[in-house]
Symmetry: C2
Subunit: 202 residues, 2 copies
């Protein structure tokens, strides 16, 4: 199994360091209802501007309703279907563009939805699972199939399950699965005191 | 100290369940350089669409440059200044609206920046610290003071430090600090198989 923990200048908690977007999932292992609720509760307790909770998630569990899971699967682009076929749980993350309390535009809707989804992905690692977010889906199809109101933006679909050996993947995906994770040098993205001033590392 | 762990239908990892946006910070305790790097590395290893890393953070450490910290503090609204004055570390989170690789609009810029910031907040709990994100800042002042390019949206400022007893707060803030954390019922935000169909909890 490809572990790939983050390479960091200072230690980072294991469930953050070991999260990565694997594509090799074990088609034989289901995710329990307790685990699904644990994933959703992690998202549920993310912070949000004015506590507005702008995220809405839909979950599909292949084990409890295969036809429903397949309908959601059909909204993914083919590239993702090549590997998501083995993932027992799918989710959709949407972001409310309006505040619930007053209907005014919420400029933090997508930002907060991203936080909720990341909590879910980190919680997956804590449960021995992996979660992989995708932008490759057919938004128009999702919107039509599920009658998603216009004020909600479809931000990501997430595949969740137990990780498998890369041997379950085709050759092209196998290469991606075993390649090292990469990030820019820290100081390119993280500044100190002023814009473009790299953070001091000691 | 007010602990307030999330009340959940299924267990959630401690560093997610114990994260909340406290306002009582200990002005006497500094955050070490190693801790600051650990916080930034947690953000750095968040996922992003096409691996574009659309976030840019600025950090201000009162302990290493007080004047710089005060300049950033001056960009907060007065309500937040009332309690942020005790927090030793401040950050700004910005989101790139364009992909680095081709300059095209990135519809996931803010979503991904929210994920990176949440990783930082969860890592803070792992380090025994607390992180509180704020939308209450003067964006025009930030943009002018730090010459932030137009393509980057200022999404949040974050106060980080060690938690203190609520006695360090004024009466109005003290009440907020001891009030219970609240969330909508899970099924209002988390659906199963279709829009507005509450997730099955058993």
């Amino acid at each position: 199994m490809n572990s790939k923990p983050a390479l960091t200048l200072a230690p980072v908690h294991d469930i953050i360091a070991r999260r990565w977007s694997c594509r090799a999932f074990d088609a034989a292992k289901t995710v329990s209802r307790e685990q699904i609720l644990s994933l959703l509760e992690a998202a549920h307790w993310a912070p949000s501007c004015f506590g507005d909770e702008p995220w809405r998630f839909i979950v599909w569990d292949k084990n409890s309703d295969r036809a429903a899971w397949e309908q959601a699967f059909g909204c993914l682009v083919e590239w993702n279907q090549n590997w998501v076929k083995n993932a027992p749980v799918l989710l959709l993350v949407t972001a409310n563009s309006l505040f619930r309390k007053n209907g005014q535009p919420n400029r933090w809707g997508q930002y907060d939805a991203g936080a909720a989804a990341e909590n879910l992905c980190v919680q997956a690692v804590a449960l021995g699972l992996m979660a992989h977010q995708m932008g490759g889906f057919d938004e128009a199809k999702l919107r039509e199939t599920y009658a998603i109101p216009a004020q909600y933006a479809c931000m990501a679909m997430i595949a969740v399950g137990y990780q498998a050996e890369e041997t379950v993947l085709n050759d092209e995906l196998k290469q991606l699965e075993t390649a090292p994770r990469e990030r820019s040098p820290l100081g390119v993205l993280f500044f100190e005191n002023g814009w473009n001033q790299p953070v001091k590392t000691e």
